[in-house]
Point group: C2
Chain length 118, copies 2
DNA sequence: CAGCATCCCCACTGATACTG
DNA sequence: CAGTATCAGTGGGGATGCTG
């Protein structure tokens, strides 16, 4: 993910961090509990392992998530939000509620009910 | 801007709407007052006219902004947020405050002071 | 299971010129 | 000033296979 070198406005910094296609959803899932890569992959229909790892590494670089790894077999890795990640999650959380409101306006209650959001 | 055809989560809908490189900033500027395209261009260093108009049209399609045009010369167009746009702006607004917090952590007070944000 | 490497496509972005 | 059209570069993202 190409980050801007200079910013017009602080919101562009936040924007660059969550711009990736699956990043908001990853942050959303990690906010609920730490997750292994395989657990994340199962929860995100359509994502490839490559994109998952790439996005995770970029989020690591930005300091919004952290990981812990067990050195011995079976390999076990867990990603979780850092304190900075929890700030970013405030934005993601608003995005979620705004999305729900828009879907309600568009009569998508069916979708929301399927997801257990109503 | 390619929108997903189906969504795992409502937050992806919000994400798709503001994913464009300059969209958060455009919404931020429009939230303060209606703006003409030329005024927006002046306020957004680095944006080309093509990208500005393209992003505006996409935001129009999503129903988050609206425009009013005077038919006669001199041509005068003004874009502004719709009610839905004001909901999206809630997310953009949080992105701004989170961005400010992160910049403060990174000792970027200088930047924020330049922008009149401190 | 976690992570990396390679190949490839196309969407996003940019630069420029043109029309009403 | 608002808006459109064309051409081109790049990097985000998908598919697949390999390694520890």
């Amino acid at each position: 993910m190409k980050m801007r070198s200079d910013y017009t406005c602080p919101l562009e910094l936040t924007h660059d961090i969550i711009r990736g296609k699956w990043k908001p959803l990853i942050l959303w899932l990690l906010s609920k509990s730490g997750c292994s890569p395989s657990a994340l992959k199962k929860s995100i229909p359509g994502i490839s392992q490559k994109m998952l790892l790439q996005h995770l590494n970029e989020l690591l670089e930005c300091g919004v998530i952290q990981k812990t790894t067990s050195e011995r077999y079976p390999l076990k890795t867990e990603y979780s939000l850092t304190q900075r990640g929890q700030k970013i999650f405030e934005a993601v959380s608003i995005m979620q509620s705004v999305g729900i409101e828009m879907m309600l306006e568009d009569n998508r209650e069916d979708f929301l009910r399927d997801k257990g959001l109503l």
